[in-house]
Symmetry: C2
């Protein structure tokens, strides 16, 4: 069975994270992704630690399934070499700073003149317009500016960034949504599209109810650790030997929870009668619950809560995650064989289709692994020409 | 200019967050979304605090632009009433616990027999198969199980959850990617699809390089606060009056950074010569930098760093975010007028298309606001029938 995007051709001019995450999803979905890398060193992330047999684990993880060709986009010959690929491409993805693609002669206006049907997606820190458009950025800068750090952490004095580069990753996901929506429009109109994604915009879109809470109440939301602003108990509890998460989201669960922790009397305490009461008196309730939960081990409590149907779970580290039975059963850890690095585990695709499965099967390419094949077959270059271009440092 | 998904019809059987976030994106993209809510109280999130003139801010934020009809899915008449909408729908989205849609007679197998072209998306905590499939879950439980909490926070003893409900939100985004990819396949094959999304799978897909680092080195990644595992300086610094984020990602920036903070001699200190050295000796470097940065205010430093082209930014709270010039310029704060709640600001769509803009224009519906219109026009019910069904508690 073919994957959902089989037959689509993606010209991938991205580096490091947001753009490559987008083209990773497109590749998992069956599109052919040709990654264009600079001849010297390629994608910056090829140099990111740690390495497995000299190959960057970071690079391998995000670039599985893609093909790699080399090209120095600053060379005057670059655009001509790319022309056949631009004509063939359904999708072009880039995450240069705004203005750089224009300097290469590869801005949307020029590219869409060559191929009016192309879907062209740009990702950058602040987007292609607006007063900050030319500012440099990194994931942490955007996490801070977007407000995400102001609601993450134990308290107001310790704003914390999300442990993964969520500003980059969410931008990659929204790039993918924009591309697929534009493809759908193209299937009706026959026309291409440019979609411009800013990491800052994408993070604002992930804030959930923080904006709503602020504009409604005028109160500035603060970090509240692992608690919930409007549900209690909903927290990380200390057990005899560790920590577990517990979510008691309604009155039925509350009564059951008090029963299994041997604190039935709490259900009649006027301070804790309804969820609203419990949120209000959480500072008084929490120590009473923790006194009980500290008595047994995490494993014992998780067994008790599972039996009682109370949502609870461990705080798993990466060693536990890679062998979690559900994660394994859902093919979320896939072992690939890289010709140089050897066996290497990557997260699978969360897109579980019944009829046209996503595919995580091929390892990341070596730098320029498909240069000859693609320049010969798709760009009409002879082997001689390829050798000359390589000697000149163009590819 | 029409939006990218204009003309598509979405039957929305979702509640609270992951599913509604998905259908919000589809609605922003121009699809017609008909939200089916239970007659008594509707979507649970209609009762979530805070309220503006009695309308939940949470609900209004995530459900802008949708239409609402009421229906008791447990009633034996429900399926027949839905039939015309199922036949008409391009997309059905649901986020019930696995098995519930089947009990309603609305599982994928039955629905696809009625409409073989339908794209049917399911979202749940653990997905429709695997050993945990029937377990209850909440966002915090999934954040803990997925490993995300094990890499977020100041240190190993204080794992922290992401401040927004990122497990729900990322699942909504992946649901949207799955739906759009399947639509693309349908435009070729004419056939529908079922895509099954698990919050746990989606969070594993967001871990970025944590899996890669663990499988390569065998070392378990830990929370490292606002630092970067392989770049330094890349941190939150204390200024005279607050905190700012600074990212010094390469050697050119490092030299410039030392210059502007008046510490040129650091560039010649053998402990800090290369990025690798700085990561290794970060505990020694950090206090030296902080001594300097503590001298000026956040505003002064951000001006200095901007001038020098060094990536830096404030940690903005929600009051600052809603009036940030870039966020405002990019239409990321949109004021809607709700008939009951009045003026209400919601985050805009980060999908900035050049030709077919996404649209955030209409407020969230009142419960059942479109019941009569849709049952009459699309389901062929008379006003008499609608009154009878309402009296019977079916709608």
């Amino acid at each position: 069975m073919s994957a959902p995007l089989e037959g689509l051709f993606v010209l991938d001019l991205t580096r490091v994270l947001a753009g490559p995450y987008c083209t990773m999803i497109l590749s998992d979905l069956g599109a052919t992704v040709v990654k264009v890398e600079r001849p010297e060193g390629g994608d910056d992330s090829r140099s990111y630690t740690p390495f497995q047999n000299g190959v960057s684990a970071y690079f391998m993880s995000i670039n599985r399934g893609k093909r790699s060709i080399t090209l120095n986009l600053k060379d005057p010959k670059a655009k001509d070499l790319l022309l056949p690929l631009i004509r063939k491409a359904d999708i072009l993805v880039e995450n240069f700073k705004p203005g750089v693609m224009e300097r290469f002669g590869l801005g949307y206006d020029e590219v869409s003149r060559i191929n009016p049907k192309i879907i062209y997606a740009s990702g950058s820190g602040y987007g292609h317009w607006g007063p900050y458009s030319q500012k440099p950025s990194y994931d942490i800068i955007i996490q801070g500016m977007s407000g995400m750090m102001s609601i993450t952490g134990e308290d107001e004095d310790h704003p914390i960034k999300v442990g993964s580069s969520i500003a980059d990753i969410s931008t990659g996901m929204f790039m993918c949504i924009g591309i697929l929506a534009a493809l759908n429009r193209r299937s009706v109109s026959g026309k291409g599209e440019h979609v411009d994604l800013a990491m800052l915009d994408c993070m604002v879109a992930l804030l959930e109810n923080a904006v709503a809470r602020y504009v409604t109440t005028g109160e500035i939301p603060k970090p509240i650790g692992n608690n919930h602003p409007s549900i209690a108990p909903f927290f990380t509890a200390e057990t005899r030997d560790g920590k577990i998460n517990i979510g008691v989201g309604n009155e039925v669960l509350w009564k059951r929870f008090c029963g299994v922790i041997g604190q039935k009397e709490l259900t009649e305490d006027p301070r804790f009668l309804t969820n609203k009461d419990r949120v209000k008196h959480w500072d008084q309730l929490r120590p009473l619950l923790e006194d009980q939960i500290r008595i047994k081990s995490s494993k014992e409590w998780l067994g008790v809560f599972e039996q009682a149907g109370i949502p609870a779970g461990p705080i798993q580290n990466m060693a536990q995650v890679v062998q979690d039975p559900q994660i394994v059963a859902r093919d979320m850890m896939v072992e690939l064989i890289h010709p140089t690095a050897g066996n290497f585990t990557v997260p699978g695709s969360p897109l579980k289709f019944r009829n046209h499965p996503a595919k995580v099967e091929q390892p990341a390419p070596d730098l320029g692994q498909h240069t000859e094949e693609i320049y010969q077959q798709l760009c009409g270059c002879s082997l001689d020409e390829i050798q000359t271009l390589r000697a000149q440092g163009v590819i």
